[in-house]
């Protein structure tokens, strides 16, 4: 395992370096700059150039890039331009909130997808199977921004069961925090759960056609046990790969969901950062997201190998 990690580390770092360059470049390509958005709508050129100088935006681009890399290496991310406060603090807070949200969503994804995937494979010819398929299709067809608003209307406005949006610290008030968490997590989880359920159904169906299932049947193992204990474990490794990709989608989906549910996470922060051209915040955040993704991919590969004993870390 250590050799596996050592082997993957250089290319992971390379991806990060490339990503940093891309992020930096993309931000500079986007029209509008932090100074003008900071200056406000009624500022004069003097104000703008004063702010530019203050932010160091008048330096050559490559110098700015190197400066940023230097900041990254020393771990001192500096202050944000527009949002206020230190970038590191902003990201730490946002990361916590988003981590809660995605972790909850991930849990829901697994909790929803597992039974649905199994049902889809085993009850294909029965009404239950049709219902499962209808559900996954519906979830895939309705965009999350519609799902989100519908969930709020139903559970918050009409039924008054859950809050319409917002966030509570998990440490201060765990019971309230969970209630705040539920709707956005469901909204975020549904599409990924539907995708995963489909892959699981597919994998289980394929596993059920394998010879070892015949063996298990021949020794008298019950159908239920065959599905859950024999076919499912074989469908899991590739499902984990899909799940790994879905984590990327969860992070991306967070931009929409966090906005609908006023969830103060990275998605919101990215959006705010882009909207105000807060370069440091956006740069560091995007790089963080790429890093998270790369790590998740590494983890996925490790879990894959753990789930499938035929694969060994090389």
């Amino acid at each position: 395992m250590r050799t596996f990690l050592l082997k993957r580390l250089p290319s992971a770092l390379l991806v990060l370096l490339l990503a940093s360059f891309l992020v930096f470049l993309i931000l500079r390509l986007i029209p509008g700059d932090p100074a003008t958005s900071l200056a406000g709508p009624d500022a004069g050129p003097a104000a703008v150039s004063a702010i530019r100088a203050q932010l160091g935006l008048d330096r050559p681009l490559f110098g700015q890039y190197l400066h940023w890399l230097g900041q990254l290496l020393t771990g001192d991310l500096g202050p944000s331009y527009a949002i206020g406060g230190q970038v590191a603090d902003l990201i730490t807070d946002g990361l916590g909130a988003t981590a809660q949200l995605t972790a909850a969503a991930l849990l829901l994804v697994v909790l929803i997808a597992l039974p649905l995937g199994v049902l889809g494979a085993t009850a294909r010819r029965r009404p239950v199977g049709a219902a499962v398929r209808a559900f996954t299709t519906a979830v895939l067809a309705v965009p999350p921004f519609v799902t989100g608003v519908l969930l709020v209307l139903l559970f918050a406005v009409t039924l008054g069961l859950l809050p319409a949006g917002g966030h509570e610290s998990l440490l201060d008030a765990p019971d309230l925090a969970l209630q705040y968490l539920l709707l956005p997590a469901v909204c975020l989880a549904l599409p990924s759960a539907a995708v995963l359920a489909r892959y699981l159904t597919d994998g289980i169906e394929r596993a059920l056609a394998e010879d070892y299932v015949r063996t298990a049947t021949a020794v008298g193992v019950s159908r239920r046990r065959i599905v859950w204990r024999h076919a499912l474990p074989n469908a899991l490794p590739s499902a984990v790969t899909v799940l790994g990709l879905q984590i990327g989608h969860l992070v991306a989906g967070a931009v929409l969901v966090e906005r609908i549910f006023a969830w103060p996470g990275l998605g919101q922060l990215v959006e705010q950062g882009v909207l105000r051209r807060d370069y440091p915040v956006v740069q560091d955040l995007l790089l963080l997201i790429v890093a998270v993704y790369v790590t998740v991919q590494l983890l996925t590969d490790l879990v894959y190998a753990w789930l499938d004993p035929r694969i060994r870390w090389e």
Binding site: E210, T215, A216, A218, V219, G220, S222, P309, R310
Partner: protein, 575 residues
Amino acid sequence: MTASTPPPSATTATAATTAAATPAAAAAAAAGHPGAGAPPRTVLKVTDLTVGFDGTTAVDGVGFELAAGDTLGLVGESGSGKSTTALALLRMLPAGGRITGGSVELDGQDLAALPEPALRALRGRRIAMVFQDPMSSLNPVLTVGRQLDEALRAHGAHPDRRERAARAVELLDLVGIPDAAGRLRDHPHRFSGGQRQRIMIALALANDAEVLVADEPTTALDPTVQRQILDLLTRINRRTGTALVVISHDLGVIARTCRRLLVMRHGKVVESGTTAELLGAPQHPYTRQLLAAVPRLETPSGAAANSVPGPEPLLTVTGLRKTYGSRRRAVTALDGVDLELHPGETLGLVGESGSGKSTLARALVQVHAPSGGAIRFRGEEFGRGGERTARREVQLVFQDPYSSLNPRMTAGQIVAEPLIAHGLGDRAARAKRVAELLEQVGLDPASADRHPRAFSGGQRQRIGIARALAPEPSVLICDEPVSALDVSVQAQVLDLLARLQRDLGLAILFIAHDLAVVRQVSHRIAVLHGGRIVETGPADRVVTAPEHPYTAELLAAVPRLDPAPVPALTSRSTV
């Protein structure tokens, strides 16, 4: 039919177990029917069994009876319905298949009519099954212990987990897995093919079933391993009194294991009787045909009749080495191989899985670069010009006629590929050549526009040969060209190769594990073991007077068609 050569110096465990088992068999045979002396009880009675697949009839009115402790063999070629019959016994037909008539009575209970849950309760407990391919028939992600545990808990006989674990160890011990307790936590891929088949048998035996159905239990295995597995089945039959139904396309396998035989063709039983009767005096023409097609180890080489090898070697291999993997954990596949192949000669290369024979074949056709040593073609070394002529003149025939043909191309396109690759002829000339080649291998040139899946296994192998012949090679490397084919088809393909050698003066490197086949077609035989050639010599001499102990071991493992060691009927002992 001459008497078999006695097993040479018994150094292997196999020989030991056989020896241990024999007195018991003899005793049982002497006592006639041990126990009360009454005729043994019938455990399985199949009457007029008919199985349909989406409208076609795959099994048509099969019937037999199986007494407790008896052994029955079902023999037949592809499509004869033997495996479908086996699956129908447990009602485990694949999708689309259905028992459309007849009954399968297990102790008077008709399995064909039983509801699924009741049937499940019987599977594994009273009637169990061992499948053909131990590679795919064991769950790759579950440990062997888990799978045995599943089998044990399926029938609730052992409610305690530790008890089940103990029983699993016992079972692995029974089927001869060394260090059984230590290996419960290993996954199937950590076991060899033979060991996996043993584990399959252990799974089937987990609940002391009275009837064990073994579907091609040794087809995928090397001869020596095959022999061990067959001995194991015999031993189990004798020790526990489990009645055996063995399905095989290989008469030798069945003759060794079963007391009675059923010959099947096109879904019907064409002949049945005791093994001795059937082998000694076959009645049905098909049975006779089948018997005649089986290559016999005793048959002397027919290669000399085809051609006389030229004096100058065409292909010379010296000190060939090949290692895989990283430098630290290198696996040696070939360890200094020396070979010579003369024009018009057939050199039989014999070896079991892992001996390096496929690696050698691939090195010769330049798919793998060797790690050391030299290959010379017409005296020119590979890497110094020799490889260019060799690329065209050395061609390969593959083992598996299913996977070696591109499913997306027509037969004509497949055969034309090497012509295109070597830039031989224009479109019209190629079409003409393809027709010629197809005719040469005994196929209708009109079938050129059909896809591989429209051909039978034997026909596909002919396409493969036609493809190899396309660039007019002087050397044909045949990597197990007939081991995936039925015996009758096998004979036809061998005939084709012989004819081609006669007509074209080809040099053939014939790689196979079946010594009987190899002896028949080869001028000389080389025995490959652990990446080294351990013995080389004229074909007849190597078979009749092996010099290396490994050659002798290989020879001893070849199943014979003489019914001598067939075990007698044993009754079921209490387990």
